[in-house]
């Protein structure tokens, strides 16, 4: 998601960056290219128009043209306009009301309502500690109600018993009663998919909304949607009091145009995004972070959060203490590799890092993937505890033994040793510079350098084959500072 839009925009910005002066003509030409990039990403036409108008107006303003770094200025303006378009603040779900809070899900057929309903239920139950009831009002699609019941079992969330033949508004009333009587905090209503031009079904949806007075009405939109997103959003907005949007299939390779369009067209915030088929693949939406990803500035905040979620706290303490003493041995490197795997592997990490497009391409080219990490793990595992603690004792014979034991070559063992040495050096430097602050500096460099990964992230002098995974050094210290 966003990657190819990000690539396109960066190609435009690369031409501007580092230029001493920009003429109005050049800025306008750049904006035309931004326009095409947005259109190819399926951003809705009216949204593109207003976006380009706003950004151009600011960009041809005097301060940009006189600025020392006009290219940077333009990038910043586009970034700010993106954040504006996406909605400045992450929006919460209004479920902390006198129970039961009623959340109604609406959308076209096949947008992913039922799956999203189950994901949201699981999210509310596990992360917000709510007692959740789900009810399917979909009497059109065969087996839709059963689908929600099965998903309820998987998510360990209660579903309203199915009464065949009952009509949607009646089911909704029954669900509300059940939720009230049985003390549920939240009631999720999954409705049938409907075309926004289907008068009968739209009226039915209105009737359900009128009968239940939902606290949240969430429009579920497929992130792969094209220009029609405008019509869909406008029609649903006109019929029910929408309070927010959930974008599904954000894990596809669409360029994310719908994400950019939705806020502006509905006037409502994007509250969640679906990022996979599993029931926990639902994430709150952060406009600022998404804007950063679109402009290839990475999403360091999400990265740190993900690290915090997956990191073993005790392990981090142990490593931090060790690092404080200046030691960084093979066991630590191994722990780092495993940590990276837990965080979702190289691909996920790279996608969150600044300069993601180029870093990913470079890694692909160098043949660095999760299997490379696996091989490096194997090398470390073939070392004796003594060797892991003091890699400097490795001589030629030991290296040959390790290579044989791990099914690799001596060259690969050497490469790993070099990587370890470089990382140990980087750690020491980091420690001298003072933890979190230094780390922030390293990451922050991304915005300046833009397309290239900030140099500090990559251990200096890495052999080309290992150019990618330079991330680990900072993480443990980082988390420590966060808490």
């Amino acid at each position: 998601m966003f990657e190819s839009l990000s690539d396109r925009l960066n190609a435009v910005f690369d031409k501007l960056r580092g230029r001493g002066a920009l003429s109005e003509l050049e800025v306008r030409a750049a904006m035309r290219e931004v326009r095409i990039a947005l259109l190819e990403a399926d951003v809705a036409l009216p949204v593109v128009r207003s976006f380009i108008d706003r950004a151009t107006e600011r960009a041809v303003g005097a301060e940009v043209l006189k600025s020392v770094t006009p290219g940077q200025q333009v990038v910043k303006i586009v970034h700010d306009t993106l954040v504006e378009t996406l909605g400045a603040e992450a929006a919460d779900l209004a479920v902390d009301v006198p129970p039961p809070a009623i959340v109604m899900m609406v959308g076209l057929q096949g947008s992913g309502k039922t799956t999203t309903t189950a994901k949201l239920a699981k999210h509310l139950a596990e992360k917000r500690r709510k007692k959740v009831l789900m009810a399917s009002l979909d009497v059109n699609r065969p087996a839709a109600q059963q689908q929600l019941a099965i998903l309820g079992e998987q998510a360990k969330v209660a579903t309203l018993p199915i009464i065949p033949g009952q009509q949607p508004t009646d089911i909704a009333r029954r669900a509300r009663e059940a939720a009230r009587l049985q003390g549920f905090d939240v009631l999720l209503l999954d409705t049938a998919g409907r075309l926004h031009v289907d008068e009968q079904l739209m009226a039915e949806m209105e009737a359900v909304a009128a009968a239940t007075a939902p606290h949240e009405v969430l429009l579920v939109v497929d992130a792969l949607t094209g220009q029609d997103a405008v019509n869909v959003a406008a029609s649903f907005t006109g019929r029910v009091p929408l309070t927010g949007v959930i974008l599904t299939r954000m894990d596809g390779d669409a360029r994310g145009g719908a994400a950019l369009s939705m806020r502006e067209v509905t006037g409502k915030p994007i509250k969640f995004v679906g990022t996979g088929e599993k029931l926990d693949a639902l994430e709150p939406f952060h406009p600022e972070r998404a804007a950063g990803r679109i402009l290839g500035m990475g999403d360091v905040v999400s990265l740190v959060e993900r690290a915090a979620e997956t990191l073993d706290a005790a392990e981090a303490e142990r490593m931090a203490a060790k690092l404080a003493k200046g030691g960084f041995d093979m066991t630590d490197l191994l722990a780092q590799f495993r940590q990276m795997k837990r965080m979702g592997g190289l691909g996920v990490l790279a996608s969150l890092l600044p300069g993601l497009g180029k870093a990913q391409a470079a890694m692909k080219q160098a043949g660095v993937d999760d299997r490379t990490i696996g091989r490096m793990e194997a090398i470390i595992l073939s070392m004796t505890p003594k060797e892991r603690a003091r890699p400097e004792i490795l001589n030629a014979r030991r290296k040959i033994r390790i290579a044989k034991g791990s099914g690799t070559t001596v060259q690969e063992v050497n490469r790993l040793l070099k990587m370890h040495a470089d990382m140990a050096t980087a750690m020491k430097r980091l420690k001298k510079m003072g933890g979190m602050k230094a780390l922030a500096g390293l990451f922050g460099g991304g915005a300046e350098a833009g397309a290239a990964p900030p140099p500090g992230l990559l251990p200096p002098g890495l052999p080309p084959g290992l150019g990618g995974p330079g991330l680990p050094p900072g993480l443990p210290g980082n988390i420590r500072f966060k808490r």
């Binding site: 059109n140 087996a143 689908q147 792969l224 094209g226 029609d228 019509n231 669409a254």
Partner: protein, 317 residues
Amino acid sequence: MTEGGSTEVTGRGGFLARLRAGLQRTSAKLSESLTLLVGTRTLEPADLDALEETLIAADLGPAVAARITDRLREARVVGEVDLAGVKRIVVEEVTAILAPLARPLAVTAFPRPHVILVVGVNGTGKTTTIAKLGHLFQEEDYEVMFAAGDTFRAAAVEQLKVWGERLGVPVVAGAEGTDAAGLAYRAMEEAKASGRDVLLVDTAGRLQNKAGLMDELAKIRRVLAKQDPSAPHDVVLVLDATTGQNALSQIEVFREVAGVTGIVMTKLDGTARGGVLVAAAETFGLPIHAVGVGERLGDLRPFDPRAFARALVGEGA
């Protein structure tokens, strides 16, 4: 459950009316801007830019939009353009691109069964399309069988079984989580044994950038070919008309991995124009077998390029 309404079958006239009604909103929009363009004055460059945007808004894609606009630019030089003329040009353009590709699915395999594998991303309407195709083949007096190969999504098997019951089509199914390739193999054995003409194999929806899931499709193909080297005889990609330019990526990857041989476009009864079909036709040249224009069984019809193009610009069919 009250599902009676959806088994109703529409006639041809009803279908055309619905297609036109569905396309109406864009038509209105398109003709509005075309009227503005060519009311009484000659075309100006800015008008053509506006038209280009309108075409982009119909998901035609930048390249096709530019090509059509260029034709109009030429036409203006010739000085023959009025509203009807502009519409004619657009219809001609779109029809010329699509006409060679309109090709209904045909049951040709010998020995039987003719195996049709149905693939696509999540939520495009694969299962519903299978039911509609099954109905279509039944009308042509073929013996049909379904294989419930979507073993991943909850209740997907039940969904196809419900359709099977309504149509009187046997459904080969396993438990949720069964290996889809194994199920396809078994379905083919049963189809052979019971002398079916057509076997429609459903698959779980998958995003084309999930390599692991895509490989699974390749496996289903291989397994089917074990019993009949020419199977699957058709691999149909179901495209959602509301999808934007990502449809091109879907076609590209599904064609490469699953060997897609043709397209069915669904949900054309909304305001989505499926304009990307034009871009797809230019880029990939895959046959377009049918379009879906509603939830009822009869709402799947052979693709008619001229009707599609004419409806697109708001001309009566």
